[in-house]
Amino acid sequence: MRALAKPAAGPATAGPAMATAPAAPPAPAGPAVVLEHLSKRFGDLEAVRDVSFSVATGELFGLLGPNGAGKSTTISMLCTLLRPSAGRAMVGGADVVTERAKVRGRIGLVFQDPTLDEYLTAEENLRFHGELYGMTGSHLGERITQVLEMVELADRRKDEVRSFSGGMRRRLEIARGLLHSPRVLFLDEPTVGLDPQTRAHIWSYIEMLRASEAITILLTTHYMDEAEHCDRIAIIDHGRIAVLDTPSALKEAIGRDRIEISVAEPEKAIEALKGHFDIDATVSEGSVAFYVQDGDQFVPRLFSEGGIAISAVRIARPTLDDVFMSYTGRTIRDAEATSGELLRSSPHVRAAVARRRR
């Protein structure tokens, strides 16, 4: 069961490229997505609290956080599927509350859960979508061929989707999200549940998209390695933006090495670290973890002065996981476990989840 009230996040797609499409209206100046003090409550649970940021046109922006942090709720509000409790948001230049139809026409959505009709063929799924979005005739036909080629499903276009593997379905969903050339593409956990090879493929499509469609992409993920692809990321936890910057700036800002030691008695080790070195350590995934300025030089001191029985040491350069850790006090996996429990215990969320589970 997913922890968060997971309203449908929608797939979205991207935007217009004005340079090469003379017939198209000019892309709106300014950011593709703007959030101002956006909040969402479910009963007494604040799923999203006063979130503000903006995403520039053409940017690949990542919302990073554990399940239940508020990512999907945020995306759902941006896709017009949920009404914000407070604040406002503009997507593709249109207000998500007062101009819902406009927003919907300008976004593409790739949901976390499958939303294909398995009994239709790949092409029929795309045609259904294209026509709902107002595409017709030969333009639609060409565009279907184009997106199917992009995700390497052109040879399967006449096959019913139920014969497709999980990765093929996800690719088809991405193709569908792009079909109507949206300005903003929302990808909600685009690679969750896929094998590493398929994940790599999906990422290569995303990179290709950015090059070819001049699209703004807003994606959510809880894979730290995937967040590295983004131009900027926002770490969201407990419904708030903990920090927002480029991946490299975030890592630099930490500037410290993470050291993990395996010990028999973590509490004693934490006490000793505090006593001897004035270091605050925490238990994380079974090891004791802490940060120091210069790990290589600290470790010899740790052994000579610490008086702790250590069975293994690991030194790591900062990663986004550490960024997450330093801003939230937990690794993303710890956060996932606790936020899941926390949310499941709230009756409001349970009700909301039940409703939204379809």
Partner: protein
């Protein structure tokens, strides 16, 4: 790996707010229903099994005690319009309930986020169910000859029109129920509490004359009675049945001794269709 198929930069499509945009939703949803129906031959065949069993097995069996043949009309002939109605009833409701499947398998969300108004999706679904149920009813009509009902063109036109109206009403009813239904299990409840009582009370299985007063009252409350009666009257008009047979087997529906004209009955069904459709649109618009 991505074979660098670089599509040329996509053209931007702005979605307008015209009536055409609204109708687009209707047509697209309707067409999907037809594609799925056409592809599912098994469903087409299996949904004929039940009416065939009712008509030829149950009908023939009951005819040994319901000696309608003595007044010139076999029991199977009597049942035929009712079983046509049954075919339409079940096909329509099942087709509407597929919304719950769509929710279960996620496809509903694809429709809900589209830049078309929700009401157009509801209308498309209702028209899709109407088309499918009417086709199914027509297939069953082919058995007319086997129970002594003539293939009169006038009768066929009347019956097909009445089936379509009935199918639309029942699909709208099903869509209204399905809009609030979260799981497939609720479907059993709908069948037990709505569909079966409506079917039994509609006069599909036995004539609505000479019943105990409590049962007569219930049959008059059952909206389906007003959809089945026109079917029976259209078919009996072409049977050359005796006045006695007509009085017994095709009594029509009377309010306080006044026999309702077919036009009024159809008008009532049409009003129900409009109300159910409107309610379905409102409820569905609030779905998320």
């Amino acid at each position: 790996m991505a074979t660098a198929v670089m599509p040329e930069i996509a053209r931007v499509r702005e979605v307008g707010g015209s009536l055409r945009r609204h109708l687009r939703g209707v047509v697209v949803v309707w067409r999907r229903e037809l594609i799925r129906f056409g592809r599912d031959r098994t469903r087409m065949i299996t949904s004929l099994v039940q009416p065939v069993l009712f008509l030829f097995v149950l009908g023939t069996g009951l005819s040994t005690i319901a000696r309608t043949a003595s007044i010139g009309v076999s029991f199977e002939t009597f049942m035929f319009p009712g079983i046509v109605g049954m075919t339409v009833l079940f096909t329509s409701v099942f087709s509407a309930i597929s919304i719950v499947w769509d929710r279960e398998f996620g496809f509903l969300r694809e429709m809900l986020v589209a830049p078309v108004p929700r009401w157009s999706l509801v209308l498309g679904k209702c028209l899709g169910g109407t088309t499918v149920a009417t086709i199914q009813g027509c297939i069953f009509l082919a058995f007319a000859g086997a129970v002594g009902v003539p293939y009169s063109p006038v009768m066929l036109v009347e019956v097909v029109g009445e089936m379509a109206l009935m199918a639309f009403t029942l699909t709208a009813f099903g869509v209204l129920l399905a809009s609030r239904m979260q799981q497939m299990q609720s479907f059993q409840v709908v069948v037990q509490f709505f569909v079966m009582p409506m079917f039994f009370l509609s006069g599909a299985m036995f004539p609505l004359s000479g019943l105990p007063s409590w049962l007569t009252a219930l049959t008059k409350v059952d909206p389906l009675s007003y959809a089945v009666d026109p079917l029976r009257r259209a078919i009996f008009d072409h049977l050359h049945a005796s006045p006695l047979a007509l009085r017994t087997l095709d009594p029509g529906i009377s309010w306080n001794g006044w026999k309702l004209p077919v036009g009024l009955e159809l008008g009532m069904v049409a009003v129900m269709a409009a109300v159910l459709l409107g309610a379905g649109m409102v409820v569905f618009s609030k779905t998320d």
